[in-house]
Amino acid sequence: MADTKIIFRIMRYKPGVIDPPRFQEFEIAGRPDMTVLEALDEIRLTRDAGLMYRHCCHHASCGTCACMINGAPALACTTRIADLKTEVIHLEPLENHPCLGDLAVDVGGFFQEIDARWTYHRPCGDASAQRTPQGVDQLLRFENCIECGCCVAACPVVSSTPRFLGPAVLAALNNERRHRPTSQPLLLEIAAGPHGADQCRRHLACSRVCPAAVYPARHIADLQRDIKKLK
């Protein structure tokens, strides 16, 4: 594929230096099938070594490279330039997260509401006895959720009600409830609290933007149903 001209407008922010934030334009030559993350690497390596953005695995497993791409939260590593179909690509830091610099945000906020010990595994979907190798207790795989924060960025309730637990935490909480039935009552109590599931207004933006098919809105609906039974 031949290289084409691609224009990026990237929100730059350096506290006390580029403050308030402003857009800076970069023009690069790249393949149309290149990803936004590859383009960011190119800009960092050839234009500005100080361009801050988070990235790690480059295949949508770590969840670090989420940012606002043309106004919508998405992973830079799996968003292809060609699929955006705009002449200019706007990149901004993930909404509803404190910005550290440029596109790098602090995701500590929603992690603080998750108990760090909550499981990150689920049984494999096809874990029959015949498929379980000798010596392996149980076939396990990681959770779908890559903790990227896209759902938090998309949620209109989080923007207006910062204390709302938000879709990422509620989805993780509901998962934990399924995995550890003994923790059910306590977890449901948290979800039933004043900042919990009942704050959700069913915009469904969280499920629409989730890059990992977690569908947080379904988890929230689960919780709301069980909370109703409590009352």
Partner: protein, 391 residues
């Protein structure tokens, strides 16, 4: 206590920061970009049992197995513990099986022979004509969350972890490295970080860091391509029962299957374009093991530079040792206060840190034993909870 400055926020730096904190040192770690973004995080995610190295590098094989067992215990949240298969696709592969099992046994790696029917029972998507298989304790790991466990422990113990800080110069007093000039990309200011000892843990960038001190580090960037297709095609790691080659590893993870990998030698770890033909090559090779790979939608293709330890002039990138070395530049170049950690692989990050920390103890005249193999690690989320990055 001595202040140690670690350059490089990859897996080695993470494990070393934790190890040095446990031994009582003061630790600052600088990373020019995002943590784990250079090599470790882009790993295909195979937590080696060591079997891949059994035929040609027993020492690495033995070390991988020991570390595999330790990491399963220390960082269970970041491991899918489903074992792996080495699959013989033809008679030539099958002839290798006896020697492969012997070598694994020599390296201490447990194996179990499986008939083709048994293997297909475990993994029905394998090529139906396979001739047999061997089960080994491979696993899948999350290359972001596994090393984050070490960062969480180091941070809780008082280490300063500074991403987006690039080393611009090393400070020399005569023949002694006494710190570094570092650019903070957030404030755009240059700061001086003084240190009693500087550790170069920059992976494939270690050569560039060593040059700042006017010495050489024997490391060669060895980029490779990896491919992820949508769909979890197997539950176990799948390897081809052949001498280690290209496109012969399938690593399941979440809803994906990662296919690794190709390898070549480069001069600059940064300027690595992804060769398009490698993507098709990996898919073709992967489909020999699991035919469904051919039709699975492409999820992502990416590139990463390995830090190959190249001391012996070996030109074949597949045969350059995956071992590692800690280099005391005082002994090698007469430069005090500077140590380079080169080579190695994600599976052996803790062992590399142990050897580097042992060297630092010897150099600083302290006799603290390594405790990282037994000391439990906090959950990875604690690192992000404390604060994902310095405020």
């Amino acid at each position: 206590m001595e202040r140690i400055l670690i350059i490089g926020g990859g897996g080695t730096g993470a494990a070393l920061a934790h190890d040095l904190i446990l031994r009582g040192y003061g630790v600052t770690l600088v990373e020019k970009g995002s943590l784990l973004s250079g090599t470790t995080g882009r790993h295909h995610g195979l937590l080696h049992s060591g079997a891949r190295y059994a035929l040609h590098d027993l020492e690495t094989a033995r070390e991988c197995y020991a570390e595999n067992q330790i990491l399963r215990r220390l960082a269970p949240q970041a491991i899918e513990p489903n074992d792996g298969l080495f699959v013989a696709l033809n008679d030539q592969d099958l002839e290798l099986r006896e020697r492969f099992v012997e070598k694994c046994t020599l390296a201490g790696i447990p194996t179990r022979l499986l008939s083709s029917a048994q293997a297909l029972m475990l993994e029905p998507t394998l090529h139906p004509d396979l001739k047999g298989a061997v089960q080994v304790p491979d696993a899948s790991m999350d290359a972001w969350r596994l090393p984050l466990h070490f960062f969480a422990a180091a941070q809780a113990g008082g280490a300063r972890i500074l991403p987006f800080h690039q080393v611009q110069a090393l400070i020399l007093k005569g023949r002694q490295v006494t710190g570094a000039r570092v650019r903070d990309f957030r404030s755009r200011r240059a700061n001086t970080l003084a240190a009693d000892l500087v550790v170069n843990a920059a992976g494939p960038w270690a050569g560039q860091i060593a040059e700042l001190a006017g010495v050489k580090a024997p490391v060669r960037p060895g980029p490779g391509v990896m491919l992820a297709v949508s769909g979890r095609l197997t539950n176990m790691v799948i390897n081809r029962l052949q001498p280690a080659g290209q496109g012969d590893i399938l690593v399941p993870q979440r809803n994906l299957t990662v296919i690794g990998t190709t390898v070549w030698l480069a001069d600059d770890p940064d300027r690595v374009a992804l060769p398009g033909e490698h993507v098709q090559r990996l898919r073709t090779l992967g489909a020999r093991l699991v035919p469904a790979v051919a039709e699975a939608p492409l999820h992502a293709a990416w590139c990463a530079s390995r830090p190959l330890f190249s001391s012996d002039g070996q030109r074949d990138p597949l045969r350059i040792s995956r071992g590692f070395a800690c280099i005391d530049h005082q002994r090698r170049d007469g430069l005090e206060g500077f140590v380079s950690v080169v080579g190695g692989k994600a599976t052996t990050l803790r062992a590399m840190a142990q050897e580097a920390a042992d060297m630092i103890c010897a150099k600083t005249g302290r006799a603290f034993a390594c405790r990282t193999a037994e000391t439990p690690l906090p959950p990875y989320r604690e690192f992000l909870q404390a604060h994902g990055m310095p405020r």
